[in-house]
């Protein structure tokens, strides 16, 4: 489904990703762990199409489609979703308005008509209820006045509505209390499907207790330096990244 080969990317001429390879098959959940600054968020932004980054080498395809040939909105329409590490606030754009614009934009990109408003409202209510997102929050400006945990839940709501093929979750667990972690994990698990894959970026085993990964990767200095099964996450939890970061190890 997602195939990344020898990916190099830099920001302001500073190389961040340095030859990254990653293969994700449909239905799989891959966890990416790694020290701060190793390039995990950069990878997620490069995949999603943020302009600030320059891809200098390598390729990334989603179901064979060259992601780098598409604009950010086209990548989303092609089935890519990024749950942001730091979701942004947009005052004046009501959350509901935003959700509707996103859902309908993707429908249009697929050549489908807009979802009739009543149907859309019903759908949002259904998914929002499960994630503990109130009607009041949906009326507010996008993420405005949302707590850290509420913002993360809102990301999962968007994911649930957009039904992407590939979901990249960047530290969706950070800032969540124990109950919210459960709500969010259930939200993610509910979306697990044969034809959908997940790349879950996290620092903590506790998220992986809820969302069991098929594959765990360690990323350091812009590359995947080790790949293993779920047990690798436990090992990292116990030993840290010392083995992977050389002299810079704490």
């Amino acid at each position: 489904m997602l195939s990344i080969k020898n990916l190099h990317a830099s920001i302001e001429d500073k190389p961040i990703l340095r030859g990254l390879d990653l293969e994700v098959k449909p239905g799989e959940v891959h966890a990416i762990m790694g020290p701060n600054g190793s390039g995990k968020s950069t990878l997620s932004y490069v995949l999603a199409g943020k302009d600030d980054y320059e891809v200098t080498e390598g390729s990334a395809t989603l179901d064979g489609q060259d992601l780098f040939a598409l604009a950010a909105d086209e990548r989303a329409a092609a089935g890519l979703f990024l749950a942001f590490q730091y979701p942004l606030e947009i005052p004046g754009v009501a959350t509901m308005t935003f959700l509707k614009a996103a859902v309908n934009a993707q429908r249009r990109a697929r050549g489908e008509g807009d979802l009739p408003t009543p149907q859309f409202m019903k759908l949002v209510r259904e998914k929002a209820d499960g994630l503990g997102i109130s009607t009041d929050m949906l009326k507010r400006g996008l993420n405005v006045g949302f707590s850290g945990g509420e913002k993360k839940r809102n990301e999962i709501l968007q994911m649930a509505l957009l039904e992407p093929k590939l979901c990249v979750l960047d530290e969706t667990d950070s800032g969540l209390d124990i109950d919210a972690l459960k709500v969010v994990s259930e939200g993610v698990n509910a979306l697990r499907a044969q034809n959908r894959a997940f790349v879950v970026i996290t620092h903590y085993q506790r998220l992986l207790d809820h969302i069991t990964p098929d594959v765990v990767h360690v990323m350091a200095k812009g590359r995947i330096v080790r790949t293993g099964g779920p047990e690798l996450a436990h090992e990292l939890e116990a030993r840290g990244y010392a083995d992977y970061v050389g002299e810079a190890a704490a």
């Binding site: 999603a48 199409g49 943020k50 302009d51 604009a71 950010a72 909105d73 990548r75 989303a76 329409a77 979703f81 990024l82 942001f84 979701p87 942004l88 947009i90 005052p91 004046g92 754009v93 308005t97 935003f98 614009a101 996103a102 934009a105 993707q106 990109a109 400006g141 968007q158 957009l162």
Partner: protein, 439 residues
């Protein structure tokens, strides 16, 4: 005033003199009105069309923007009236006393003059001949010698006189609709409104244009007596070839309340002048506006709020979104006269540039002659935030649509202050139409 002595007249100035000379005898009014018109036109002639060397017109060079003078429009024909009817469709759902002018001429079949008890709406052309004319042509608030105001006093043939009796809350809004239809002409309009003590009214003034290259000039004189309240919503949606000059002159008594919103959606070049004078203690004014412009359009908002009373507060907030090579000008001044203690004034002008070629000039000023006041002003000019745009695009929303959502949010802040729901919708729809046309 900056009295420039010039012997060479521009083509537009010469044409205006000729038009005035030939139209003068036919303009309505008694001898006092005729005298008033002459004085006004002489004042214009002495000053001429202001160029950018005149401080007040520094950013809006009227001499350059007005290359010729259009003839005064004749009476509209059936086709024009039918077109005007169509142009008024967005307002159909708004129940109002409606006075419609097509090309500056009152059109009864597009009007509904019924008013509630205590509210009177009559035509200016009648006031001009019944002794009330000179007063109706002299606002006493706008700066002496202002060319737009002088030209209006010289040429205006009709308009509306509104009077709300003391203690009366007008149950219907009063809508003055100005529609331009035809190829090119000049049209003048004036609204003279007085809200008696404790009265309350909502005034709507709209300007709608077809494709013609017109020159429009409108003046609103609004007198809000002690304890009275007036809300005014102006919607400027002239043709994109029109030169639009407009003046709002408001005198506020004590404990009076003014709330006004101006939308600038049309015109090749538009200048909206707003002069508000606090003459009684404890009054408030909320003065807001939004504008959109693309291509090489020019939008000017010139504002003077004169605090000449104790304990008055004013809020000024203007937002403009600019695309293409468009340019906006905001000149706003809050004046606090000696003795106008406890004045509370805050002014903000914000421009959003959607293209490399757009430009916004803001000149906010405070002139304070009292010591116990709280006043502030600010101006921002900026582009849309790329991080926010990326967030929207990452959800599949295309660039232009993402921009539209953010521009809507930007102007929404001021549009949402319009209290009348139907009117708020008209303004919102107009904003959406502009944004959709961009995509």
């Amino acid at each position: 005033m900056n009295a420039e002595v010039r012997s060479i007249r521009t083509a537009a100035e010469t044409a205006l003199s000729e038009i005035f000379a030939s139209a003068f005898a036919g303009l309505p009014g008694d001898s006092a009105v005729a005298e008033r018109r002459r004085t006004a036109f002489d004042a214009f002639k002495a000053a001429g069309l202001p160029s950018r060397r005149v401080e007040d017109w520094k950013y809006t060079d009227l001499r350059a923007l007005m290359r010729d003078a259009k003839p005064i429009a004749g009476a509209p024909d059936g086709v024009m009236i039918a077109a005007a009817r169509g142009a008024l469709a967005p307002y159909a759902a708004i129940d109002a006393t409606r006075v419609t002018f097509v090309n500056g001429r009152f059109v009864e079949e597009l009007s509904d003059l019924a008013t509630a008890e205590g509210v009177s709406v009559t035509l200016l052309k009648d006031a001009l001949v019944n002794g009330a004319g000179v007063e109706a042509l002299s606002d006493g608030v706008s700066p002496a010698g202002n060319v737009a105001v002088a030209l209006n006093a010289a040429f205006v043939a009709d308009g509306v006189v509104v009077s709300v009796a003391p203690g009366v809350t007008a149950s219907r809004p009063i809508h003055v609709a100005n529609v331009q239809a035809g190829s090119e002409h000049a049209a003048y309009g004036r609204v003279v409104a007085r809200v008696g003590e404790g009265g309350n009214v909502l005034l709507i003034e709209s300007h709608i244009g077809d494709a013609g290259a017109h020159q429009t000039n409108s003046v609103i004189m609004l007198d809000v007596a002690d304890g009275a309240r007036a809300e005014l919503v102006k919607i400027q949606d002239e043709s994109l070839d029109t030169l639009h000059l407009a003046t709002l002159a408001v005198r506020l008594g004590a404990k009076a309340e003014l709330k006004t919103f101006a939308l600038a959606a049309g015109a090749r070049a538009a200048r909206q002048q707003i002069y508000v004078s606090f003459t009684g203690d404890g009054s408030t004014a909320e003065i807001r506006g939004a504008g959109f412009a693309g291509a090489s359009r020019h939008l000017d908002t010139t504002l003077v709020v004169d605090h000449d009373a104790v304990g008055c507060s004013s809020r000024e907030h203007f937002k403009t979104a600019l695309d293409g090579e468009a340019r906006s000008v905001f000149q706003g001044k809050i004046v606090v006269k000696p003795g106008a203690q406890k004045t509370d004034g805050k002014m903000m002008a914000q421009a959003l540039l959607l293209s490399e070629g757009a430009e916004a000039d803001a000149k906010p000023e405070l002139e304070i002659f009292a010591d116990d006041v709280v006043c502030g002003h600010g101006a921002t000019v900026g582009a849309l935030d790329d991080e926010l745009l990326f967030y929207l695009k990452s959800r599949g929303i295309p660039q232009k649509e993402a921009e539209a959502l953010m521009v809507q949010a930007f102007v929404g802040e001021v549009i949402e202050t319009i209290e009348h729901e139907g009117l708020r919708e008209v303004v919102t729809d107009r904003a959406l139409a502009w944004l959709t046309a961009r995509t």
